[in-house]
């Protein structure tokens, strides 16, 4: 019988900024996305002002002036470092950990029951507060969905105590009462669309969803929501995500039944291969940072004029979007195509595969562009060159190096990631 804990940091980005800067104590602060666009994090003071998440910064200039809201550009280096530290501490509490996002992790705690789960959760919370100065909430339950819900209760003080809420020690009647007071939209996996549909069916509370007929839910919605219903009932359907090494390359290619002489035919083939590979890419929640296209004549017929060429380009931004990938692949193809040959095989490979960004980032694309972006691009080019042979690598046509400089006007120093960014203490 598994027991899950969901530990997440309160106002993570804002908390990281406040941790190192004493002038921000009790001040309303926000953290902005790329190009200082939208609010991606709010301190408790800003939440209290009713300013919503995701609002464009320029739209709330009035409030900013009136309440003295300080805005910061995202200091991803800092947040990543603090996140790694949190995860390192959590790992000492359980070997079974799933890093769900930059500020949320699931732990599996069966085996630690002798401490009492709630007490254990309290120890986790305290150590993170003492060692890192970050406030977290801990939700504990027999399923991931319930752990997430318990965390919500801890955070909003609906149940539990001092930031820790343990459903496993609550009486069924107590839980039912609690679930009857929580909107169904707060359940993990129930977004706006689904909750609207549920409400239309008369399901408004978590309790009602828990008690809904599973079959009906499956037929009216999906197997996924049915699983959620079961999880709400305490039946664990979701394990900790296992760390499976993602495919580092995804290839898609085919030999042609009849020789292809014209560019259009090759373009069609390449487009379909890219689409197929992109599907696999998306299925493993990855993005590709580079793409290789190759075409060749029939090498098993040496009497026929031979031509084969491959070209690899790094993408300006890692992507899993078929249209983007197909677009680049076609560009590359047009560069390597030579008329007059009977092509026998074409293929593509998606390279530089990285995990897709997590939920907190998903609305706001992470910055690929920093100072030194060009160095990184070149480093990637060189790495690919080194691996696939010199000459196989060219920078693609216009657009690739026309980098846009990301505006990050309010970036805090690299307190923990740059020697030049250390916080200064005054000996005075």
């Amino acid at each position: 019988m598994p027991v899950f804990a969901l530990v997440d940091c309160n106002n993570f980005y804002a908390s990281c900024e406040k941790l190192f800067d004493p002038t921000l104590k009790d001040k309303p602060i926000v953290v902005l996305s790329n190009n200082d666009g939208c609010v991606v994090a709010r301190s408790a003071e800003v939440k209290a002002l009713g300013i919503p998440m995701g609002v464009p910064w320029f739209k709330i200039q009035q409030e900013a002036k009136r309440y003295g809201i300080v805005a910061f550009s995202s200091n991803y280096a800092l947040y990543a470092d603090m996140s790694n530290r949190v995860v390192e501490i959590l790992s000492s509490f359980s070997p079974n950990i799933e890093v769900y996002s930059i500020d949320e992790s699931f732990l599996e705690l069966s085996g630690f029951e002798r401490f009492g789960y709630r007490a254990y959760g309290q120890r986790i919370l305290q150590q993170i507060a003492d060692w890192l100065g970050l406030a977290v909430c801990v939700g504990i339950g027999p399923t991931k969905t319930l752990a997430k819900l318990a965390n919500h209760c801890a955070k909003k003080k609906l149940a539990g105590d001092q930031g820790v809420c343990d459903f496993t020690t609550m009486m069924p009647a107590e839980l039912s009462q609690l679930f009857g007071r929580i909107e169904v939209g707060e359940v993990w996996g129930v977004g706006r669309k689904i909750s609207a549909k549920l409400e239309a069916m008369g399901i408004h509370t978590v309790r009602q969803l828990r008690d809904a007929d599973a079959e009906t839910v499956r037929s009216r919605f999906s197997v996924v929501l049915e699983r959620t219903v079961r999880e709400l009932r305490g039946i664990s359907c979701l394990d900790l995500a296992e760390v499976v090494p993602e495919k580092q390359q995804i290839m898609s290619s085919r030999s042609f039944g009849t020789l292809v002489y014209d560019l259009e035919g090759l373009e069609e083939a390449v487009a379909s291969y890219v689409s197929r590979a992109a599907e696999k890419l998306r299925k493993q929640d990855s993005l590709a940072g580079a793409i290789q296209v190759y075409i060749r004549t029939n090498i098993f017929k040496p009497e026929v004029p031979q031509y084969q060429r491959a070209m690899t380009i790094p993408l300006p931004e890692a992507s899993a979007d078929s249209r983007v990938l197909v677009g680049w692949a076609i560009k590359v193809l047009r560069r390597i195509y030579r008329p007059g040959y009977g092509y026998h095989k074409a293929g593509i490979t998606l390279l530089e595969i990285v995990p897709k960004t997590n939920q907190q980032f998903s609305l706001f694309v992470p910055p690929e562009m920093e100072n030194g972006r060009n160095e990184r691009l070149m480093a990637t080019l060189d790495a690919i060159n080194g691996r696939y042979g010199r000459g196989s690598l060219r920078v693609a046509a216009e657009g690739v190096t026309k980098g846009w400089q990301m505006r990050r006007g309010n970036l805090s120093p690299g307190y923990t990631t740059e020697w030049g960014g250390l916080g200064k203490v005054v000996a005075a």
Binding site: P22, N358, A427
Partner: protein, 152 residues
């Protein structure tokens, strides 16, 4: 940036400059000998000394700050030094600490005796800072060491 994000998706123990600074060279353990005769030095082989290990006891809770000013000279803390600060150590009377007071980041010695809390300097030119009612004091961490590199 991609690299940082990749890191986040995996289990901990990853590259972070502060936490996993490269160790100095690896142990000397390949000693070629003629068969049957072990090197007399073998028993004394140790891995080379590592500054990180010496200065940082608890990497996950350790942070660095740079010093500006001369009020702690008596404790051999000088302008330009980098302080090693451990947040996991419970601050006690007499320890050198980083304190956030009234919007400032200070390095001071903590005085805490008989209900009186003060932050003292190690330089006769500076008076102790008494912590009164209503003053906001947060002891950020304990200074466990310092280092400096000469030149640039």
């Amino acid at each position: 940036m991609r690299e940082l994000l990749m890191d986040l998706a995996r289990v901990p123990g990853l590259f972070v400059p502060l936490l996993h600074a490269p160790r100095l060279p690896l142990p000397i353990d390949e000693v070629r000998v003629s068969a049957g005769f072990p090197s007399p030095a073998a028993d004394y082989e140790n891995k080379r000394l590592d500054i990180n290990e010496y200065l940082v006891r608890n990497p996950v809770s350790t942070f660095f700050f740079s010093v500006e000013g001369d009020s702690m000279q008596g404790a051999e803390i000088f302008d330009g030094d980098i302080l090693v600060v451990d947040k996991s150590i419970r601050p006690r009377h007499g320890q050198i600490v980083i304190a956030f007071v009234d919007g400032q980041r200070l390095v001071k010695r903590l005085f805490r005796r008989g209900g009186r809390v003060a932050l003292t300097a190690e330089n006769p030119a500076y008076a102790p800072l008494e912590i009164q009612e209503g003053m906001e004091l947060m002891i950020w961490g304990v200074v466990t060491g310092k280092f400096k590199r000469f030149g640039a």
